[in-house]
């Protein structure tokens, strides 16, 4: 117990940013759009959140700034793919390259300057006992991610708007012909994905390492994209996948800290493990699949009504 509780608490902290970004991408993909720019949007959110925290010290304001920055760059992707019908794969890659450059440029003045980590949401008296720490020991984004799992599940499964969003992703021509604005719905989804990726990025300086470093999201945005495939586009499965990755990353932290059987393995292998695990889960899901992939039918295809 003495070891398990801190491991679980660290795991949840490491998993939450990935979960938030992946939930955003899930909604985008459900609307039929493949945005591979998650990593870039996260980096832009990370530097916006960092700068806001640096100047104001208000982590909630920092999260809002991260979200706003994520939305702003996601709209570049939106205009190109939705209004100009560009190739989504190439545009998403371009967005990631752009976000990497933009965040590095904006972050250059901030290198090696620390900020305050975000404090847990609940008063520390509630989390004195180890068991209570598991429930009350986290900062607000962790609870936000859990609430969003439920909210998005409900939205997609039970609401009319969710049904329209899924219709747009499954059969854009039919949705168009019964009068829904395919492009409008997709813009909204892309902007939502941008906001979630921005918040996820802002979590890196606010929850994990309280400073700015170039490329500090280290491929977590791509892992989020892979998790959506792993989860077969289902929010609760996304939760399980993200926590699995949280566990892998926590093991890396413990191995690097030194003692125990874990430290016998080279630290570089631990650092590579999240990426290798991503490949492993993609392989696993493909083995388990019985024919149907559950991917939205219009995923990645530009909307071309024959007018």
């Amino acid at each position: 117990m003495d070891l398990l509780i801190p491991i679980f608490v660290t795991l949840v902290g490491a998993a939450s940013p990935i979960l938030i970004a992946a939930l955003g991408e899930l909604v985008v993909e459900k609307a039929g759009v493949l945005n591979l720019g998650v990593e870039g949007m996260m980096l832009v959110g990370a530097i916006a959140g960092f700068a806001a925290q640096f100047y104001t010290g208000n982590p909630y304001f920092a999260l809002v700034c991260g979200a706003a920055a994520g939305v702003a760059v996601s709209l570049i992707f939106g205009v190109l793919t939705l209004s100009l019908s560009t190739n989504q794969t190439a545009t998403g890659l371009a967005l990631t390259i752009f976000g990497t450059g933009l965040s590095a440029l904006a972050g250059a003045p901030f290198s090696a300057r620390p900020v305050q980590l975000m404090a847990p949401l609940f008063p520390p008296e509630l989390a004195t006992h180890p068991i209570w720490r598991v429930i009350f020991g986290y900062a607000a984004p962790v609870y936000f991610s859990l609430i969003m799992v439920f909210v998005l599940w409900y939205f997609l499964k039970k609401t009319r708007s969710g049904l329209i969003l899924r219709a747009v992703g499954e059969n854009d021509l039919s949705a168009h012909s019964i009068g829904y604005s395919v492009v409008g719905v997709r813009y909204a989804a892309v902007a939502f994905g941008g906001a979630m990726a921005g918040i996820a990025g802002a979590c890196f300086p606010l929850l994990l390492t309280p400073q700015w470093a170039e490329r500090m999201t280290a491929g977590r945005g791509w892992i989020a994209v892979a998790l959506v495939v792993f989860a077969s586009w289902r929010p609760f499965r996304l939760l399980a996948g993200a926590y699995l990755f949280g566990l892998v990353m926590t093991m890396e932290l413990y191995a690097k800290a030194g003692s125990g059987p874990l430290s016998a393995i080279p630290s570089e292998l631990w650092a590579a493990l999240p990426y290798l695990a991503t490949i492993a889960v993609l392989v696993l899901i493909s083995l388990r699949r019985d024919g149907s992939t559950n991917a939205p039918a219009c995923l990645g295809k530009p909307f071309m009504p024959s007018n």
Partner: protein, 360 residues
């Protein structure tokens, strides 16, 4: 609306070749405005990044050396993307190619002879191919998305460098620095113009592009790659196997990325260092698109992107522009190019003046 879009019966060839030039031009204009707006010398940035490398003859050799890996990798990616195979892990294949070459160089450290360099190059190509074979296998056998696997392998390969140069391959005389020893004379890529840094990789890049252009435009292989990419149903009907195309696309692009890697480690670096991954594999994605997925276009695009690399370094020292600005200019180019694709497929027509208006 005074304008409307009209679908062209056939993609416009003029626009196909005009839009890359327009994208570069627009990047300069918009880049100058944006960088001025955020407090930098915007015009100076554009001058230093796009023109100084061309006007200053001392920078020409830098251009060649930077363009060579971009062209070699870009040619491979252009072939893969033609076939709709999204290998975006060229950076990883470049790294493994460089590591495979390093392995040969270290194993033959005490030997000499003209056979060492060809052996290294062979190892580099094979290394890149093997690393690209993983996403090919997973894609063809298990239908696992090659974008994600090839990219994840890139992140993993960076850790492989760190491990190898920290432990088994570490230079014993390196005073603790994580790097390999300097390669022996036989394992270094010779320069082709005495007194410069222009190495053998530069002509190799041009030859690779020319050969690829010939193969892609004149052979059944090239035809197969193009047909599978543009019309998969017709390709299946014509007897071209989709799986075989995926394998070929990944092996060719991976092998060329590996070639670029081994040339880079044997040429400019002459040892394996932590800074070996220089983003060539990612920038080559832009090169492939800017070159219109055509090996000859890739030569020009590779030079353009090399200019921004060299110019970015110049702007850093002369006007204090952060190095990250280069990446912004490069991705803006890709954004504008992708947006310009609209003009390849559609034409802008002025809508006719409505007759009712003249009647009234």
């Amino acid at each position: 609306m005074p304008f409307r879009l009209e679908k062209r019966p056939e993609p416009s060839r003029t626009m196909l070749y005009l839009t890359p030039a327009a994208a570069v031009l627009l990047t300069m204009i918009v880049g100058a405005i944006i960088f001025s707006a955020i407090g930098y010398n915007g015009l100076g940035a554009v001058r230093e990044i796009f023109f100084t490398p061309l006007t200053n003859s001392y920078k020409w050799q830098d251009l060649g050396v930077k363009a060579a890996p971009l062209i070699i990798i870009g040619v491979g990616l252009s072939i893969a993307y033609r076939a709709n195979v999204w290998n975006i892990g060229a950076e990883g294949q470049y790294i493994v190619g460089g590591l495979a070459g390093t392995w040969v160089a270290l194993a033959t450290y005490s030997m000499s002879g003209p056979w060492i360099l060809p052996l290294m190059i062979l190892a580099g190509v094979v290394g890149g191919m093997l690393y690209a074979a993983i996403p090919a296998f997973l894609k063809t056998r298990l239908n696992v998305n090659e974008i994600l696997t090839s990219l994840m392998l890139t992140y993993a390969s960076v850790q492989l460098i760190y491990y190898l140069i920290r432990a088994p391959w570490k230079d014993p005389m390196g005073m603790g620095f994580p790097q390999t020893r300097l390669f022996a004379e036989s394992a270094r890529l010779p320069t082709i113009i005495p007194g410069t840094i222009v190495h053998l990789g530069v002509p190799i890049a041009i030859i690779v592009a020319l050969v690829a252009w010939f193969i892609m435009s004149r052979s059944v292989f090239g035809y197969q790659m193009r047909v599978v990419g543009t019309a998969p149903h017709a390709a299946r009907y014509g007897g071209f196997s989709e799986n075989k195309t995926i394998w070929l696309a990944l092996l060719v692009s991976g092998g060329l990325a590996g070639l670029a890697g081994v040339l880079e480690v044997a040429g400019p670096f002459q040892r394996m260092v932590p800074g070996f991954p220089a983003n060539y594999g990612f920038t080559a994605i832009i090169v492939a698109f800017l070159g219109r997925l055509n090996p000859l276009g890739v030569i020009f695009a590779g030079i353009v992107l090399a200019i921004t690399f060299v110019g970015g370094e110049v702007a850093q020292t002369t006007i204090g522009l952060p190095n990250a600005a280069t990446g912004i200019f490069q991705s803006m180019m890709l954004f504008f190019l992708l947006a310009g694709d609209l003009l390849v497929r559609y034409r802008i027509r002025r809508t006719a003046v409505q007759p009712s208006r003249s009647a009234a």
